[in-house]
Structures are given as C-alpha cells and as structure tokens.
C-alpha cells in the first residue's frame, strides 16, 4: 500500500512538472500560434543564470526573480531578433528556426557555464512528510512545485480571459490583419507573448531543477513529456495542460513502478498514451473547438 501511495505521489509531482512546461508551450501557442522547440533550452539558460547567482551568494528568491526577468528579456529578444524575420513566411519556417535555436542555446550554455552535472538548490526540504510512522513521497519541495504551477495556471487563465491585453494577444495570434485593423499593435503583442511564455518556461525550468541535477541538456526529456502533456490537454487550454501533465505523470510512474523493466518502457508508454488520446479525441482532451485552425 505504501508503495502504491508513493508511486502515485511521485507520479503526481512529476506530472506537475510536465504541466509547468506544458503551460509555457500552451501560452506561446495561444499568443503566437507557434510551437517553440527552443523553450526548454531557454528555460535551462535562465536556470543556469540563477545557479550562478546562488553560487555568488545570493538567496534563492533573488536568483528566481532574476531568472524570471532574464527569461522575459530573452523571450522578447528571441522574438524580435530571430523569429520576426521569418514570421511572414510559411508557419513551418518559424518552427524550424526554433529547433535551430534549441541546439544553439544549449551549446551556448555549455560554453558559458560548462557542461558539468550540478545539483540545484531548493528553498524547501527534500525529506518526505511523515504520516504516522511512515514517510510519504511528498516533500515540502513538492508542495512548492504544485503550488507554483497552480498559481501560474490561474494567472494565465485570468490573463487570457479577463484582461484586454490577453484578448489582444489572442486576437493577434488568430488573425493578425483583422487585429491590426481593429487597432491592436500586433507586433508588440507577439513580443509580449514570447516574453511571457519564456517567463513561465523559466519558472518551470527552475521548479524542475530544484532538488535535482542540472546540465545543459537537462530539459530534454521534459521537452518531450511537456509536449505530450500539452497535446493531451489540447495545446490550447491551461487547465488541459495541467490535467494532461498529471495524467501523463501518473501513467508513467505506474508504468515505471509496476511493469517489468518499466523504467525502460517510460518513453514508449508516453508515445502510446499520446497515440491513444489523439485517436479518440484528435483535438486533445480539452480542445475548445476542434475545427479551429489558424
């Protein structure tokens, strides 16, 4: 029983981490209609900036804020300098450019910060809580992760649903020309979308890193799982990203824990889950409207 509880809890926490990353993908998709493959590398870059600050004696929270701000700046710069020139062309161009960016940023991280495996601190404990005389796989750090992701999701929902900026961002993403005719400054909205997505990505990068190990490619497996989670949730819905992340985290944890040689089957299982969901619900579990395509 304890094993089941622990496998479940560890799956939920992993799922929240996938969800955090999926949220960033959803955000950039909603605001620019581009799938950003460089998201993970950008997040990793900000995590390394944070680690450099922590090593220099700053507190975790100062480092977190600086990392988020640098994520914002990085996102804006990437959009202005690298994505903007290819934005007019076929959609695929921008996506391919993000792939190139992904490799380039990872290489830059290795050059600037080194490629060593390093532990990343967390502001909270890494020992599981005790219930009675057993310890469960839920640590103060897990609660911090869960809380941060839920708050971020709520903020995103609020942004898109209740603010003019959010509306303008969605409008720019769906129909640039129409939005422009209606007085929306589309260019700025796209930059803002990238910047905000990079902030959320950066947050997920730091949450994933906390109490774990980082190296330039540490986000790689999470990029895959994050994409799966986002697509499961419909790529369009912050709530869907969370649900998709949790489902994926749980399923993969059970596969790893209960199937023979389960750890090796995790990646295959992720693909199977993705296939099944897409066959049953092609738009994902939480697609707001199936036929809508930009």
């Amino acid at each position: 029983m304890q094993q089941f509880i622990n496998i479940t809890l560890s799956g939920l926490v992993e799922g929240m981490i996938y969800a955090a990353f999926a949220l960033a993908l959803v955000l950039i998709w909603r605001s620019t209609r581009i799938v950003n493959f460089a998201q993970g590398a950008m997040a990793a870059a900000t995590a390394f900036i944070a680690l450099a600050l922590i090593d220099a004696g700053q507190s975790y929270w100062v480092a977190l804020i600086v990392a988020l701000v640098s994520g914002f700046v990085l996102g804006a710069i990437v959009e202005r300098v690298i994505i903007r020139p290819v934005e007019g062309g076929p959609e695929l161009n921008a996506v391919i450019v993000t792939l190139g960016l992904f490799v380039a940023i990872q290489a830059l991280i290795a050059i600037v910060f080194g490629s060593a495996f390093q532990s990343f601190p967390t502001p909270f404990g890494v020992r599981g809580f005790e219930v009675g005389d057993t310890t469960i796989a839920l640590t103060p750090t897990s609660l911090y992760i869960i809380g941060s992701v839920l708050i971020t999701m709520a903020l995103l929902v609020a942004l898109f649903r209740f603010t003019r900026v959010g509306l303008a961002m969605r409008a720019s993403a769906f129909g640039q020309e129409v939005a422009r005719l209606l007085g929306v400054r589309v260019g700025r909205m796209l930059t803002l979308g990238w910047a905000l997505a990079a902030v959320v990505g950066s947050l997920s990068g730091l949450l994933i890193a906390g109490g774990e190990f980082i190296y330039p490619a540490y986000m790689d497996s999470l990029i895959v799982f994050g994409f799966v989670a986002a697509v499961l949730g419909g790529l369009d819905s912050p709530v869907g990203a969370i649900v998709g992340g949790l489902l994926l985290g749980l399923a993969l944890s059970y596969v790893s824990g209960y199937l023979p040689r389960g750890s090796a089957l995790v990646n295959v299982a992720a693909l199977v889950i993705l296939m099944v969901v897409l066959l049953v619900r092609p738009g994902g579990l939480f697609a707001s409207s199936v036929a809508r395509r930009a």
Binding site: Q3, N6, A116, F117, P121
Partner: protein, 449 residues
C-alpha cells in the same frame, strides 16, 4: 566550471590542429633507408619515426559526464609526463579524445573520425558499455587495437576469437558481483538484499555474479534506465520488498539520485553497497552538496556505505602510486585536483605505455595485440590484482578489495580477492602490492622482437 569548459574547448581545438598537422605531414613517413635494426620507422598507421597517435571517446557532456569527463585529463597528464621524459622508444604520444556524450550514435561517429580521419594507431580507454559496444565490430573488422576499454563488461575480453583486437582492463562486473555476493553470504547471511541495477549489461553482469552466491537472499531487483531521472518507483519497490541491504550497480549520478530518493521516501536500509563504478564519495558528495537545510551535506549520506576497490584512491596519501600520480598531476599544470577518476586515467595510461613498450621498437597493430597476450599477465602496476591477458582471455584485472566509505575516503574491510568469470572460484590474493618504478614510467621489454 566555465573555466574547465573553456579549457576543454581550447583543448579540442588544439587536438583538431594537431590532427590536421599530422595529416598534412603524413606524406613523408618513410625515412628512405628502409630502416635497419635500431632505427625508428613509420611501422603502421598512426606511427611515425617520432610519434604515435592514440584516440579515445569519453562522455565530456551529459548525464555520464560527472567524474568520467575527468578521466582523459588524467590520461593526458600521464602521457605528457612520459613525453617530457623522452616518450616511448623516442616517440611522443599524441592523444586525441572526443566527446560522445555517452550516446552510442555519437560514439560511432567520433570513433569513425578517430580511425579514418585522425588515423590513430589504437583506441585506448574508450568509455562505457552501451557506447563502446557500438564500435566493437567496426574496430575489430578494421583491425584497430581497442585497448583497455573503460567498462567492466564481459564483452571486451571473454571472446578473443570474435574480438581479437579488444582488451578489457578493469575488474569485470561479473567477477565484482561474485566477490560482493560471497562477502554478503559470509558477513550478512540474514540480510534481505535489494538490487538497484542499471538496465543494461552493467547491471546484468553484476546481478549474475551476485546471484551465484546469494540468490536466495535477494528480495527485489529493480532496474533504472539511464536518462530517466525519476527513480522513485524503483526505490519504492525496494522499500516495499523490505530490503535492508541494497546493492547498486549504477553510475555515480544515480548513486546521488538513489540516495536523494531514499531520503524523500524515508527509506533507510541498514546497509548500502555501491559497486566500484558508482561509489566515488567526493563526486557523489559534490552532487548532493547544494541541497537545502543541511538535509544533505557533502558525503555524509554515503558515510558507512560499502564499496569495492581495485586501484588505490586519492585519500591514501601514503600510497606510493598516489604520491607518484600526485607529482605527475601537478607537473601537468591542468586545473583541478587529483581525483580518483584522474588516478584511473593515469593507471590506464600506465598500462598503455607498458603495452607500447612490449610491442617493440617499431610497433604494429597486430604486434601490440601479441605483446599484450604474451606479456600482459606479468605486468605490475597500480592495480591490486594481476591481469588475465592471454591468447584465450582478454579480461583485465581479476580482483577487488571491499572497502567501507568513511568521509571522503575509505577503509579496507576485506583484502583483495581474485576470481574470474563463470564458475571460477574466489581466492585470496597472496601477491605483494607493486611499487612504482623510478620516475613513474614502466620499463617493459619488447615481447615481439
């Protein structure tokens, strides 16, 4: 960290330059005279009158990089030392190592490059079971000596007929498993043993060895896949099975992950035993160092854990080999301290120099294989137990001690025992430890002339 990476970049750049220069100069290899006795000749690919080129692949980046990326710096330091002292038979050793990130696809690519572009004489110390397996057939079909693979898999040495050019070096995982299994059967007959295994030959060989002695004591065997960093399901299973003695056949980063996860789950087996590969206390300690609130500080988590040894370690400052390697490391002027990984690299480089010497004044690729087969079993060096090299076996050193980790060092709990793969018995080793030769460079006679 950034400094060392810049060193790495500049080194790789330098290595590329060296190889380019060597390729350009490749035309004037023959010295015209046909080479009478006593003259150095360009006797084979990668060998000139005054140089010999060796190549290697290591994970310099990625999950397996911690620790392992230090090995080639040790090799380099030792070869520099030998070169300073006149090289081997008047030849300077050119050493080129490339990053494969512990990814077999990359290994194939960089080894192709080493063999076909850089035209190395031999590959030395290529690291990793999954990675090196990918180039095993290639090297043997090309007839490239594949010396002293940095992995304890049986693949390198058990079948010299299929892989005549490949030699193992460190104690193989099956022999290690047997020695661990026997120790547990003798000292902890009531322990309920859980195995934490890397899901490849490394874990399989170790498990096979252990099961020969304590099959009935094992209550659970869990496997992790390198790259999948969530090991909570695996550790939970060990916990649920009631294992109170955990043996890990895993790489160092997974030692850190297993300790961290056990901490999360409140799992406290009475005894941890990490096989040699995963047990470097300084490295694991540095990986765990940053975690918060003093919950984890330096190597304290590993304090009291058991491990195995086949080489002296840096904490043994009165060991003459360590003193010699310390001097060589300082002379090399590279950044960082002497670590166990660098000692490993230097020890392997020491064996390499023995092999080059035994291959005679004008070494050939087939000649060095013959030299290791005929003379290798008698070579002494920093390793505790003799090598098993012969025409029938290319297995490396045969024995291990068992040690308890104390702080950043270790103390011996069982002296060296030697064995072999299959149903070979385990015996106490009665040989004397060798001491390093004058100036730390071996002086083997040619075994082929």
């Amino acid at each position: 960290m950034s400094r060392s990476s810049r060193r790495l970049v500049s080194f790789l750049a330098a290595a590329t330059v060296v190889s380019t220069v060597a390729a350009c100069g490749g035309g004037n290899n023959d010295d015209g005279g046909g080479g009478g006795g006593g003259e150095n000749e360009a006797s084979d690919i990668g060998v000139t009158e005054d140089s010999i080129k060796l190549g290697a692949h290591y994970p310099l980046t990625g999950v397996a990089a911690p620790g392992y990326s230090e090995i080639p710096t040790g090799v380099q330091a030792y070869f520099d030392w030998v070169n300073e002292n006149g090289g081997v038979n008047g030849r300077q050793i050119e050493y080129i190592y490339r990053d494969d990130a512990y990814n077999p696809t990359n290994t194939t690519q960089v080894v192709n490059q080493l063999v076909l572009e850089d035209e190395v004489f031999a590959i030395v110390g290529g690291l990793g079971t999954p990675t090196h397996s990918a180039v095993l057939d290639f090297l043997n079909s090309e007839g490239v000596p594949d010396l002293f693979v940095s992995s304890g898999s049986l693949l390198w040495g058990e079948d010299p007929e299929t892989n005549p050019y490949t030699f193992g070096w460190q104690t193989d995982y099956e022999s290690e498993g047997k020695i661990i299994g026997e120790y547990i059967a003798e000292e902890f007959p009531d322990a309920k043993v859980g195995l934490f295994l890397q899901d490849d030959d490394f874990g399989e060989d170790g498990e096979a060895g252990i099961r020969e002695y304590i099959d009935d004591q094992i209550v659970a065997a869990v496997r992790y896949t390198p790259g999948n960093t969530n090991v909570a399901p695996q550790i939970s299973e060990l916990q649920a099975a009631g294992a109170d003695f955990v043996v890990g056949f895993n790489v160092p980063s997974y030692t850190a992950l297993s300790q961290l996860t056990a901490l999360q789950l409140g799992y406290q087996p009475e005894q941890w035993f990490y096989s040699n590969v995963g047990s470097d206390p300084a490295l694991v300690g540095s990986l765990l160092a940053r975690f918060s609130q003093g919950a984890v500080s330096d190597a304290s988590l590993l304090d009291g854990a058991l491990t195995t040894g086949y080489l002296p370690t840096v904490d043994q400052t009165d060991n003459p080999w360590i003193q010699q390697f310390q001097e060589i490391w300082e002379a090399s002027g590279q950044e960082g301290e002497l670590t166990n990984y660098r000692v490993y690299g230097m020890s392997q480089a020491y064996t390499t120099v023995q092999a080059l010497q035994a291959a005679g004044q004008n070494p050939t690729r087939d000649g060095i294989v013959e030299a290791i087969e005929t003379a290798g079993a008698d070579w002494e060096g920093p390793v505790f137990a003799p090598y098993r090299y012969s025409a029938d076996s290319h297995m490396g050193t045969s024995g291990m001690s068992i040690e308890r980790i104390v702080g950043n060092g270790s103390e011996e709990v069982q002296p060296v025992r030697v064995t072999d793969i299959g149903n070979a018995k385990i015996e106490e080793f009665d040989g004397e430890p060798a001491s390093p030769p004058q100036n730390g460079i071996p002086d083997e006679e040619s075994a082929v002339d």
